[in-house]
């Protein structure tokens, strides 16, 4: 019975949902400070390749390499973020998209390190490492009534879930802090924010780097989930896919990213026939969404209403 429910396929889909939620959040955070960054695919690639190469060549423990991958993405986020400060709106989007392509082309051409477009294989899988670890401390999956590969994916889901919950907790807490207030005032009116004494340079770079860090973390976890990466995993398509998670779900509220990533990861799995036409579907959906509901499925107004608050309008 339990074995039926813990189908490795379902668990793997769940893993991808969790990773995609992280990626959606990596767009949401810079967006909450008014910056539309499409560099998430590039930062994801940096995290993935860094962690994968470190484990393959130096056999470092995964928790170290994943963290190093995320941190490197974050640092590169700062470096890219500073010159990008001069850009806003669509110009920033184009510049960050260009950055992502530069990273991808780098992975394709730096063959001595990245094996070019063939990609890296034999990346240690996080789930298998967890299994090894469990066995080393004397926990046998069979004792828990699980098969080995069930344990592999189940432990992976749990680890990813903890990370996602932690990021969500952090971002929500941050939103209600000084930093969050600074972000949202910059998003609403940069000039007003500046005249209130908010160091907009600092906060914009911070938001950008946080997004890059989350994307790098997601990338590293992605590499250790599927065990094989190639430059095409971090292409333009990925960048657009990540953007759609957030835009579809609703970019004004954090739960929108979670919702968008979940639905849009599940959809191609549930509707197998859609899978091949995914990008056509995404495109059509984006056009309809922009025309009908540009703020995404979930928005602030909806939450005000759910909380029973009435938004007062007008002057009377």
């Amino acid at each position: 019975m339990l074995g039926e429910l813990l189908n490795p396929y379902y668990l793997q889909v769940l893993c991808f949902i969790l990773i995609n939620i992280m990626l959606a959040l990596s767009i949401y955070v810079p967006l909450s400070s008014g910056q539309l960054s499409l560099g998430s695919a590039g930062f994801m690639g940096i995290g993935a390749y860094t962690s994968a190469l470190l484990t393959i060549h130096y056999e470092l423990p995964l928790y170290v390499t994943i963290l190093v991958g995320a941190l490197l993405a974050g640092v590169i986020g700062i470096i890219v973020g500073i010159p990008s400060l001069r850009l806003t709106g669509v110009y920033l989007a184009i510049a960050t998209l260009g950055f992502g392509e530069v990273i991808r082309v780098l992975f394709v051409n730096w063959e001595s390190l990245t094996k070019g477009s063939v990609g890296l294989t034999g990346i240690p899988q996080l789930g298998r490492e967890l299994l090894k670890f469990a066995k080393s401390i004397g926990i046998e999956p069979s004792a828990l009534g699980l098969k080995n590969n069930q344990f592999v994916y189940l432990s992976l889901v749990i680890v990813l879930l903890i990370i996602v919950l932690f990021i969500l907790w952090f971002v929500i807490r941050q939103q209600n802090s000084r930093i969050g207030r600074a972000y949202s005032s910059i998003q609403m009116d940069e000039k007003a924010a500046e005249s209130m004494g908010i160091n907009i340079t600092y906060y914009k770079v911070l938001a950008f780097a946080q997004g890059a860090f989350i994307a790098g973390l997601a990338g590293a976890l992605f590499a250790h989930t599927i065990g094989y990466i190639s430059p095409s995993d971090f292409s333009y398509h990925r960048a657009v896919e990540i953007l759609i998670f957030t835009v579809f779900g609703g970019s004004e509220v954090i739960i929108g990213s979670v919702f968008g990533a979940t639905i849009l990861t599940l959809l191609p799995e549930v509707l197998r026939f859609v899978s091949d036409y995914r990008y056509i579907f995404y495109g059509i959906m984006l056009v309809i969404l922009m025309a009908v509901r540009p703020q995404g499925i979930l928005d602030l107004y909806l939450f005000y209403r759910l909380k029973g608050k009435r938004i007062k309008r007008g002057t009377s």
């Binding site: 207030r181 000039k191 007003a192 005249s195 209130m196 004494g197 908010i198 007062k312 002057t315």
Partner: protein, 238 residues
């Protein structure tokens, strides 16, 4: 208190300010008049640190503050109410006011918000309303109230009367007078020259990036050139 010496500011290749000398004395209202494009707002933006002058110095309280960033200047005590009521439209009125005290670390913020609300009763009434739903005059009051919460020594007001009904304009000018009486120095940029000169102590008139006339406000009100250019000359009947 504030002294600008030979300020030259450029937007790219275009020179917007061509050597501005300007002084603001403590406890006074000083007004900066002029037509569109004269460089009034650029002067304000330069003082607030939003744009760096190419040449010249800005001194505040005897200290050279040229080229400082806006958040540093705010800590020194210069607070700007930008042109066109830059309020945070999807935050509530109360949240907007709290944002005004963003850089402060003391514990009097709550008390100060209460005080400010007493001065602007309409804001107290609407404190939980989204700021974007306020009327133009209310938004301008919110912008001024928010700037006051930064506890500035010098308040820069960039065209507070713009686009407001005459009755509200009169109210805003009354508030500016009160702010001065509470001990905050005010530098006021206005197109509404007559009103501004009535409450001001000293005035400067700008034209194409230069200051062409300056003097005590009472004198300027009578100055023929100003009457003609900005206040509207009385037509003599034939």
């Amino acid at each position: 208190m504030l002294k600008l010496t030979n300020i030259e500011t450029y937007y790219g290749q275009i020179q917007a300010l061509k050597g501005i000398h300007l002084e603001v004395e403590e406890g006074k209202i000083v007004t900066l008049l002029g037509a569109n494009g004269a460089g009034k707002s650029t002067t304000m933006r330069t003082i607030a640190g939003l744009i760096k002058p190419k040449r010249g110095t800005v001194e505040f309280l005897g200290q050279n503050v040229t080229g400082m960033r806006p958040h540093q200047l705010l800590r020194k005590g210069i607070s700007l109410v930008p042109e066109g009521r830059a309020i945070l439209s999807t935050m509530t009125v109360l949240e907007n006011l709290e944002m005004g005290a963003y850089h402060r670390k003391d514990h009097d913020v709550k008390k100060d918000i209460q005080n400010v609300m007493k001065r602007f009763p309409i804001l107290e009434e609407r404190q939980s309303q989204l700021a974007g739903t306020l009327s133009g005059g209310q938004q301008q009051m919110l912008a001024i109230a928010r700037a006051l919460l930064a506890k500035p020594k010098l308040l820069l007001l960039d065209e507070p009367s713009m686009g407001l009904a005459p009755l509200i304009v009169a109210e805003i000018f009354n508030i500016i007078k009160e702010i001065k009486e509470d001990g905050t120095t005010v530098l006021l940029v206005e197109q509404n020259a007559k009103q501004a000169l009535k409450i001001a102590d000293y005035g400067y008139v700008m034209e194409t990036g230069k200051i062409i006339i300056e003097g005590p406000a009472d004198d300027l009100l009578k100055d023929e050139r100003i009457v003609e250019a900005y206040l509207g000359k009385k037509k003599t009947t034939v």
